[in-house]
């Protein structure tokens, strides 16, 4: 990984709302890699993406941006990335064609629609030009999501952040979408940060995974390591306690939502909890992985 370009580096980022806070977030994004953010609902995934979105634009000191810039219509230099919020596909304008909306968005970035590039991207998506000549309500749910992705890559960003991009897609559409994301990252060297609650979707698409709970990153691993040998008990729970045909005999009557103000957020639910977990737990680095759990203290 040493020879690769680092696009975004976040060091000790903190942020708080009145009743929620992100604590000590460290994230590094390399060129052409896909990063997953995995966590239960309310763990701060969306907040993190929103904070990254505003902080990169406002040159926050805790972040280093190396992903290049574009000039907007007001001739202002802006970091070249795209943030796709959760319901982006449902927020397409029902009145105009998809292609007009794409042109409109590109105009704000001082970009004209490059027909060659468009055709190249469309053939990669496996779609015809007729798809984007339609109005969004005449597209299938999967096509709407692909239109949003197309809009994002036509802006030629170096990083795309997507918040739960596959909700409301069926399994065939989800698979198609995830395969296209992987292809874009590989062929066009665009990095992705993708958040989600489903470990299957996140592990399928990502190269590296940040596991979050209560506004903290509890584990960072490559996907293969995370799947074969999860370090944090919370990660293990996320992977194992997943409804499926294989887990039909498992039941659970313990809802996981509460956060502790101090100590490990998973303390109340953890089978290995000890008194040490009540005070602040630091990140431990283990080979190329990190984990915020006292089991791994050395």
């Amino acid at each position: 990984m040493k020879n690769e370009n680092i696009i975004l580096d976040v060091r000790h980022l903190n942020f708080s709302y009145p009743n929620f806070s992100l604590r000590d977030i460290n994230i590094s994004v390399y060129e052409g890699r896909i990063y997953g953010i995995l966590g239960i609902t309310g763990c701060g995934k969306t907040t993190l993406l929103k904070v990254l979105n505003t902080d990169i634009q406002h040159w926050n000191r805790e972040l280093t941006w190396n992903g290049g810039y574009y000039t907007d219509v007001l001739n202002k230099r802006r970091p070249n990335f795209v943030y796709v919020p959760q319901s982006a596909a449902d927020s397409l304008d029902a009145i105009s064609n998809v292609i007009d909306q794409i042109k409109e968005v590109l105009k704000q970035r001082n970009l004209a629609l490059d027909d060659d590039l468009l055709n190249q991207y469309l053939s990669m998506l496996g779609k015809e030009i007729t798809m984007i000549n339609k109005k969004p309500q005449f597209l299938s749910q999967g096509e709407r999501h692909l239109s949003v992705l197309l809009m994002a890559i036509l802006m030629r960003p170096s990083l795309i952040m997507m918040d739960e991009p596959t909700t409301s897609l069926d399994s065939a559409e989800t698979l198609e979408f995830l395969n296209i994301v992987r292809k874009i990252a590989r062929d066009y060297h665009i990095s992705f940060i993708i958040s989600g609650t489903s470990p299957d979707i996140i592990t399928y698409v990502s190269d590296f995974i940040y596991v979050m709970m209560c506004g903290m990153i509890l584990e960072y691993s490559s996907t293969d390591e995370l799947v074969h040998d999860p370090l944090h008990p919370y990660t293990e729970m996320m992977i194992r306690r997943r409804p499926s045909l294989e887990t039909r005999d498992l039941t659970s009557f313990r809802f996981i939502s509460e956060c502790n103000d101090t100590g490990c957020p998973f303390l109340k639910y953890c089978p290995h909890a000890s008194h040490e977990c009540r005070s602040q737990v630091n990140m431990f680095h283990y080979q190329s992985r990190s984990v915020r759990c006292v089991i791994w203290k050395r």
Partner: protein, 251 residues
Amino acid sequence: MEEIAISAEGINKTYLDRVSMMRWKRRDIIKNFSYDFRSRVIYGIIGASGSGKTTLANILAGFDNPDSGSLLYFGKPAGHSNKKIRNIFQDTFKFLNPLNSVNWYIESVSKIISDRHIIENLLYTVGLEPERFGNMEIEKLSGGQRQRLAFAMVMAQLPDILILDEPFSMIDPPNSMVLFSVIKKYLKEGTVIYIDHNLDRVAYLCDHVIAFDNGNIIEEGDTYSVFRRPETDYVKGLIDASRLISSRINV
């Protein structure tokens, strides 16, 4: 004792799409759907998006009228049945007033159930402790919290028929397992019709799977047989895609 909870006979539903100023195109959503849903069975309805699952749920729950066909609940038409038919849909703002508090809903539900403890216990189980969340207005709750409140309110009434249309779309997998466990524990006698595009969740909860495409059933059977040996290419495609997505995690 097993009986027929919902008997649907020849249900049709057509929407009109506007193609231009004066022209409308017919779009058949449900085509001649007939099925007997039995009691004590959890049914799962699967299908690609746009296959008519949600329209079917609306019709079965009485939110939408079919263009033709008949629906009987325990042998009687809707409105003449004394059985409890309840539903939870994805969009909880459809039936939760954003300005009411959680306590208001607890009180309302307590009036129609025999034992107030049921609703309180359920709220504890789904992580909405009445002491902490009681005074909160619905609009202050997150999407997942609203879905859990709706779930607890409906489950406390121990419905005879429960129709769920993507009820847990905003709840993560480990926590949805809690809600599924509650359904399995409390509704042993009832009929549950569960609709979701997430096949893993259907496989976990349901006893019997109905695959829906183009407005009608194309395949049905016991969960294990449908998931292990799907008969149609359509269902096989959906199941294979789902299996491939979870291929890295199921090592």
